[in-house]
């Protein structure tokens, strides 16, 4: 577990509150998702991000609108921070036409062209080659965009990880590799599945700059991402960030979570990104309890409005099943 010594928050109040708000949005949204899953409104796989909010809130907020984002099947948080409306995300999980993918994708496949959000990839490591290609197009067309590619530490065991890091470094492509190391690939701990658990070392083997970041500290995440993205944007090749984080919930709604000690989970919860950050802000006089409660009310209202929106969503007619398999008029 990374050290819990946290530096003062270097932000003015508005941005500090914005980071709280984003983490709170993810937390409350997903808590509601879990309930809705229990109620049968959401089906299929549902992978919660609770505990890891500092990574999406800190990293995605450090990107520019012209940047691209490639995510995994645990991507609700990134989608929310990137700006896909909560209602549209939830409608997708409800399988409704008003969802971002008209109900074709569900929780694991959120996409949004408007914010350059390229999924929502449910094949571990599957997004890395895609990110390399997006960056290749940006490089060729001389666009100053960064492609931020999120993936878990489990992906580092895939061939796609090695092939993609090699290509990105070889061609000096503007990819920001954002590894969310939550220690467990489903139920298998990193040390039990990878001979070299130091992921930064492996990135450096490709002559790529790499940095380990406390993924429970939203400030550390944001600062590291901002600095790395600036390097990448300046044409100095790809960058690898390893965010040390932890998921508080099970891998998915089907996971009985038998592979971790309760004490370990509890210890990480002590370092929860939301309450540690708000405590720091309060200590620094940047946040009053009343302000936090107001923020909380605002976020809960947003989530409830999203539930209403999703529940009122319509179903795509089954006659449109084959729509968008190929371009219109093609088969």
């Amino acid at each position: 577990m990374p050290p819990a010594v946290l530096a003062p928050v270097p932000y003015a109040k508005p941005f500090a509150l914005e980071l709280v708000r984003q983490m709170l949005r993810i937390r409350r949204f997903e808590e509601r998702c879990a309930e809705l899953y229990g109620a049968g409104a959401i089906r299929g796989f549902l992978h919660l991000y609770i505990g890891e909010e500092a990574v999406a809130a800190g990293a995605v907020s450090a990107l520019q609108p012209e940047d691209a984002l490639v995510g995994t099947y645990r991507e609700h948080g990134h989608a929310l921070v990137r700006g896909i409306p909560a209602g549209v995300i939830l409608a997708e999980m409800f399988g409704r036409r008003e969802g971002c993918c008209r109900g074709r994708g569900g929780s694991m496949h959120l996409f949004d062209a408007g914010t350059r959000f390229y999924g929502g990839n449910a094949i571990v490591g599957g997004g890395l080659p895609l990110a390399v290609g997006l960056a290749l197009a940006d490089q060729r067309l001389a666009r100053a965009s960064v492609t931020a590619c999120f993936f878990g530490e489990g992906a580092a065991a895939e061939g796609a990880f090695h092939e993609s890091l090699n290509l990105a470094a070889l061609w000096r492509l503007p990819v920001l590799f954002c590894c969310e190391n939550n220690l467990y690939a489903m139920g298998t701990r990193l040390e039990r599945s990878q001979s070299e658990p130091d992921l930064c070392l492996r990135a450096r083997a490709f002559r790529m700059r790499a940095e380990r970041v406390d993924g429970m500290d939203v400030v550390a995440v944001h600062e590291a991402t901002r600095a790395a993205a600036a390097e990448v944007r300046a044409g100095r090749g790809p960058f690898f960030l390893e965010f040390r984080t932890y998921r508080f919930r099970a891998h998915s709604m089907f996971d009985p979570d038998l592979y971790r000690e309760k004490a370990e989970v509890e210890a990480w919860k002590q370092r929860g990104p939301l309450h540690t950050f708000t405590a720091r802000l309060k200590e620094q006089g940047l946040l009053e309890e009343q302000e936090f409660l107001a923020l909380e009310r605002e976020v809960v209202a947003e989530v409830e409005a999203a539930v209403v929106f999703a529940a009122a969503g319509t179903l795509e007619p089954a006659e449109d099943l084959l729509r968008d398999v190929c371009a219109e008029g093609r088969s």
């Binding site: 691209a68 969802g99 971002c100 993918c101 008209r102 109900g103 074709r104 994708g105 496949h109 996409f111 949004d112 062209a113 390229y118 999924g119 929502g120 990839n121 094949i123 599957g126 890395l128 080659p129 895609l130 990110a131 390399v132 290609g133 997006l134 960056a135 290749l136 197009a137 940006d138 060729r140 067309l141 492609t147 061939g159 796609a160 092939e163 993609s164 090699n166 290509l167 070889l170 729509r323 968008d324 398999v325 190929c326 371009a327 093609r330 088969s331």
Partner: protein
Amino acid sequence: MSTTYREALREAHRDALARDERVFLMGEDVGRYGGTYAVSRGLLEEFGPERVRDAPLSELAFVGAGIGAALGGLRPIVEIMTVNFSLLALDQIVNTAAHLRHMSGGQFHVPLVIRMATGAGRQLAAQHSHSLEGWYAHVPGLRVLAPATVADARWMLPLALAEQDPVVMFEHVLAYALEGQPGQAGEVDLARARVRRTGERATLIAWGGTLAKSLQAAELLAREGVECEVLDLRVLRPLDEESLLASVKKTRRAVIVDEGWRSGSLAAEVAARISEQCFFELDSPVRRVCSAEVPIPYAKHLEDAALPQVAAIVAAVRTVL
């Protein structure tokens, strides 16, 4: 003017690269080496390393990078050295390229052309002799092409590049030296099967590497007075059912020639469609000539025995007459 299949492909690439800045070729040894089958020889010198891009032996990553580049606004042609190695990239081709449009509710599409050599016949043994076109033809979201003539080699590529969705193009390893007329742009499409020889007694249905063998078989049969029609499917997904059924309804007999293994083959799909849609017009059961269900062996006599041969095609036709 006569040219070769290889040169026709090269001309197609040169033309595409010259016409559209967004087009680039990427794959193993496509640049400095000149292409494993010499398709891209000279193109590096002409267009530079950005547009004729040598990739490391990372099929999964460079095919995926092709997908990403297509999403990012480029028009990549990704060459996979052979279909055998495409298995290393299958995840990206199926899970991403083919599914992205539908999975994203139509927000994203992947205008990517993937070319690869396919087939056996050069004593390259089990791991270099696959014919897996049928696997790709199984997947919704892909368009699958099998150019078997010089004209198709010349003109399918620009049409594939104009598509909005991923196109997988199979070039049989024995076709590169084929000579013929490149023809004109307007003579080629990506939709229809083509009758390569007309006849009344039976329809031989072939594509890619089995077209030449089927035409030879038809020639031998014609000497005995048995005129067969030879239909080149050309587009393996989506299948041109109309042309297929029209020919079979005319001849009332069908023999399908497929270099893939029989079980679960594209030949099985074609046979099923014929049975479903013109069963009562048939005068004989549909026959298939496929590869033996064995990893393709090295020794010449064994390889020959494993693959569909002209004599087997002729024999199959005789059983349906």
